[in-house]
Amino acid sequence: MYDVEAIYEAKTVAEAIKLRQEHPKAVIIAGGSDVLIKIREGKLAGCELISIYGVDEIRGVKLEDDGTLRIGSLTSFSHITKNELIQKYINVLGEAVDKVGGPQIRAIGTIGGNTCNGVTSADSASTLMAWDAIIELTGPEGVRRVPIEKFYLGAGKVDIHEGEIQTGVLIPKTSYENCKGHYIKYGMRNAMEIATTGCSVNVRLSPDKKIVERLRIGYGVAAPVPIRAHKTEEKFNSAPVSMQTAEGISKAVLEDVNPRDSWRASKDMRLHLCSEMAKRAFIEAVRLCGGEI
């Protein structure tokens, strides 16, 4: 039994917004794989919950008229991985969320929950960062769209206003077109793991596959929130597809990342891994795009 004062259930986005206004202190629960554990730990014990698990209208993946890929916030990890649109346009996201926990966790965990809890180790986050995802929030005043980089305000803090819920994660066409990426999750075992560090790299190559037209690198657990390696990206946009570039990226990312020391891993080790993973993920992304190193 979970120590909760009350549970309010929403079946629609409108109901959820209304409940949010009526119970401003209540905690939103989507799949619960995070919130229920915090209740059990005592961190949220005695709280009120607004359950949006039944809001089916924000489940599923679809392609909008302008080519934007819309992932409903309640879409579970397992459904994202299995989804054909995801597989076609942003395969790396399906692969990244397929590394969350184990199968049962992936059946309950949602992409909305994974981003709204503001955790740097979230497996979807570095990829969403690296693909310039847009977070869609719906509230009493209507819909608000926030680039994911702005959505993260600090460790465990995200930009959700009173009365709002997250309703979608959007990937613009310009982001996914002609682009392939690769995610490496570093963990201490091969399943049931939270990332020690995660690195998601994607590239768009020139038509002859010789030049990196666009390089994007996202990290989890390299800073208090998921981050982009902007300095490295700027440096290597338009760089030739080569091992030298891969090595260069590997070194340059050290200027972008800022991991911390913790009992889970030392800062030095994380830096070392950030560097190695960037290289490996870059090489694989290039390969997926048809390039050769």
């Binding site: 039994m1 120590d3 005592g42 014990a45 005695g46 184990g102 570093y186 201490m188 075992r189 091969n190 399943a191 049931m192 793991e193 939270i194 020690t196 009992w263 889970r264 891993a265 030392s266 030095d268 080790m269 070392h272 891994l273 190695e276």
Partner: protein
């Protein structure tokens, strides 16, 4: 033959259908719930406990503190009791403590109508501490001026033993000796049985009844009585099916506290269900042991002298104490005998959680140390690791002076040969020489030696009762418990074999009840098939003789002319079936002249034990920049004598190998140096292997019948864990040239060592 065949487990159907009842499944769901207030300091004196707010929580029935607890010190170890005081387990615990000795020690308890009320009340208990300095490291704790845990134990030394053979100091003066020295360190790990420790208690007719997930019902019964200061007969303990134990449940855990709590609420039913976090933080763990080995060798690798020191981290209370360190220490000079040997073992109290029994009982630690060291010798002297082991290991005919145990066959060579063949050792060893590059492969070996059962250190006894039904089938009861290993199936096979019954006609009563089950000390020391095997055979032989004597009444044939075969009384002279056992049992049970219920009960004392042997080969791939090891291939080869049930034996080996892999590569309990708090006490942060972390696990056997054993068998429960970590460690050394002398070889350690070695 029924022994030696792979029968399906007798409990398999029930477990597969989900109907098997474990402790919690049996507990009335209206039971009161008990929760424990654990200390949030590592070392302190409790000054006062304010329970006023906690008592106000709706649903709270009673709040009790260390100041209410009975002033009875009790032991917890799952050892047979001794009537000699000097051999008795150390009594150093109260059900709730005023002297907090580790972070998480038990200070107060709440009994409530449900877990929410209990948890809310726990949070509201205010404890005032006089905080004391604490120490987490065993060698630090031995120093003068270190914080003292128990008044009686100066410098926190629970015990120190010394083994001496020959003259070490003289022997090392031999000219030309090569010195190989190393420190080897093993981590604190946890059993991680999937069913947490759980018990519930109530009073019945002036006695205290406890149902508990324990490996040792008769011992736990005694510990409860000692904790409460009541007569031992006042306690009745039930042990249903249990969801794994691995040694953690070879200790009285919270049964004494739960039993006391029921007495504080008028005997109402109280359930105390450890949460997973409590299983990690407040149950037992494996002793972390640090070894220092100095070997003096001649050019050809022969051992001129050896010195071993062991520092075993006991944690806050004695529990199994020094037995673990001592068992490991005793193994060095048996596995690799040396004429001039000096060994010192210290078991040290520290402000960490309590170390107790865990599968292998000191041997996974000792085997890691000695087999890592042996590999270091081979590396330094440029010797072939297989040939060196063949040459220096315990020779055939070796007899231990203390236990009188003997190595009867050429088992080490037989085991090694099987392993070498399976893993293609020689070819791969050559192939993996002189590698460069980021990703490298390696292959390694480790031997294993293990001592079954506890004689002559402690009492070995097994009592068995057999009761015949009207149809000629029997119930068998022993005190040695089924804990998942398949003991009940082995007993069924043994009883059927000796009595001449079909397998299906033997019903082992799986669940122990200390009022009913004959005395036996429980599941530990890989002793079930060996000691309980003798108990079962002893009882079955006597029962058979008695049955034949009774059969004489109806067949008028002399007992020596008859035998029992396949459930029938058979005349041996011509093979004629004279009557079925069912006919005999029915006739005699309802006989108005010579009525008798056919039963037999017998206690067998065992004054021998046996060595188990084996080896492990492991092949790894190391991704150096990523600090990752992938286990590619692994095989354990065991000589546990004759296998009672080969399929179950193989399954035992798989489980042990898995635990060994975790010990080698991922499992470690981490403690905060600043507070003494366990940092990773849950199944996410504690890295138990998942199915994705294992390759195929190959288990093979050499079956040399054990001459001292009732069925030719001996210990196999614990041995499979022991050689795995050293084989993997030696494989990583082979791959990278880096010798890891600390477990687990997790990425953190690889990062550190590979950096130092300049491999990045």
């Amino acid at each position: 033959m029924i022994v030696g065949k792979s029968y399906a487990r007798v409990d398999a159907y029930d477990k597969a259908s989900g109907r098997t009842k474990y402790t919690e499944d049996l507990c009335d769901r209206h039971a009161l719930v008990a929760k424990i207030k654990h200390s949030n300091v590592a070392h302190a004196i409790v000054k006062s406990v304010d329970i006023s707010e906690a008592e106000k929580v709706p649903g709270v029935v009673k709040v009790l503190t260390c100041f209410d607890a009975p002033d009875c010190l009790f032991p917890t170890a799952g050892h047979p009791w001794s009537t000699e005081e000097s051999h008795q387990d150390i009594c150093d615990r109260n059900v709730l403590t005023k002297h907090v000795r580790y972070y998480g020690d038990d200070v107060a308890a709440v009994i409530a109508e449900d877990d929410i009320a209990a948890n809310r009340a726990i949070k509201l208990i205010k404890v005032e501490y006089e905080v004391l300095p604490f120490v987490l490291d065993a060698q630090e704790a031995m120093k003068d001026g270190a914080p003292q845990l128990h008044e009686k134990y100066k410098n926190n030394v629970l015990a120190h033993t010394q083994i001496k053979k020959g003259n070490y100091e003289e022997a090392i003066k031999e000219p030309g000796l090569i010195k190989v020295e190393g420190w080897y360190e093993t981590p604190t790990v946890q059993h991680c049985h999937i069913e947490n420790a759980i018990c519930y208690a109530w009073e019945d007719n002036g006695r205290i009844y406890v149902t508990a997930s324990t490996q040792i019902p008769h011992i736990t019964k005694r510990c409860i009585a000692q904790a409460l200061g009541v007569e031992w007969g006042k306690i009745r303990l039930f042990k249903p099916y249990i969801g794994g134990g691995f040694g953690n449940k070879q200790d009285a855990l919270y049964e004494p506290l739960c039993a006391w709590l029921t007495t504080q609420v008028g005997g109402r039913l109280v359930k105390l269900d450890c949460q997973r976090e409590e299983t990690f933080a407040n149950n037992r763990v494996r002793h972390a042991i640090r070894y220092h080995i100095i070997s003096w060798l001649r050019d050809d690798g022969t051992l001129a002298a050896r010195k071993v020191e062991c520092f075993s981290n006991q944690g806050a209370y004695a529990s199994h104490g020094h037995s673990i360190c001592a068992k490991g220490l005793g193994s060095f000079n048996q596995l690799y005998p040396c004429e001039n040997f000096e060994g010192d073992g210290w078991t040290i109290f520290t402000n960490r959680q309590v170390a107790g029994a865990m599968r292998g009982y000191g041997m996974p630690q000792a085997v890691f140390a000695v087999e890592a060291h042996t590999e270091d010798i081979c590396t330094k002297l440029n010797l072939d690791p297989i040939e060196y082991r063949r040459k220096t290991v315990m020779p055939v005919g070796y007899v231990d002076a203390f236990s009188k145990n003997e190595l009867y066959s050429d088992t080490f060579n037989q085991c090694l040969d099987k392993g070498i063949k399976y893993i293609d050792f020689e070819r791969k060893r050559k192939e993996y020489a002189n590698q460069t590059g980021d990703v490298r492969r390696g292959i390694g070996v480790s031997l294993l030696w293990y001592n079954t059962a506890v004689w002559p250190i402690a009492l070995e006894t097994s009592s068995c009762r057999m009761v015949m039904n009207q149809d000629g089938s029997i119930q068998v009861q022993v005190g040695e418990t089924e804990i998942g290993q398949g003991a009940d199936t082995a007993y069924t096979q043994m009883a059927a074999e000796t009595l001449g019954l079909p397998f299906e006609k033997v019903h082992v009563v799986s669940c122990q009840d200390t009022d009913v089950t004959p005395f036996g000390t429980g599941a530990y020391a890989s002793r079930q098939t060996y000691t309980a095997g003798m108990g079962v055979r002893g009882c079955a032989e006597a029962f058979k003789q008695h049955i034949l004597e009774v059969a004489y009444r109806y067949t008028r044939m002399q007992p020596y002319l008859m035998d029992i075969k396949d459930g029938n009384i058979v005349r041996t002279t011509d093979g004629r079936v004279l009557m079925t056992l069912g006919e005999l049992a029915t006739k005699t049970l309802y006989d108005r002249e010579h009525n008798e219920h056919l039963t037999m009960e017998k206690t067998t004392q065992i004054k021998s034990n046996a060595y188990s042997f084996g080896c492990c080969f492991a092949e790894v791939e190391v991704d150096i920049p990523m600090c990752q090891v992938k286990l590619l291939n692994i095989i354990n080869v065991h000589d546990a004598g004759i296998l009672i049930n080969p399929a179950l034996a193989e399954a035992q080996v798989h489980g042990g190998m898995s635990m060994g892999i975790g010990f080698a590569l991922s499992e470690k309990m981490l403690y905060d140096e600043k507070t003494g708090k366990l940092l990773n006490g849950n199944l996410l942060d504690y890295k138990l292997s998942t199915m994705m972390d294992h390759p195929h696990l190959e288990a093979q056997f050499v079956e040399n019948a054990e001459p001292t054993s009732a069925y030719g068998t001996k210990g196999l429960g614990e041995p499979p864990v022991c050689p795995v970590s050293s084989a993997i460690r030696n494989a990583i050394l082979n791959a990278t040239g880096v010798a890891f002398n600390e477990l687990p070889i997790r990425p953190h350690l690889m990062y550190e060592k590979f950096s130092q070695a300049g491999l990045f």
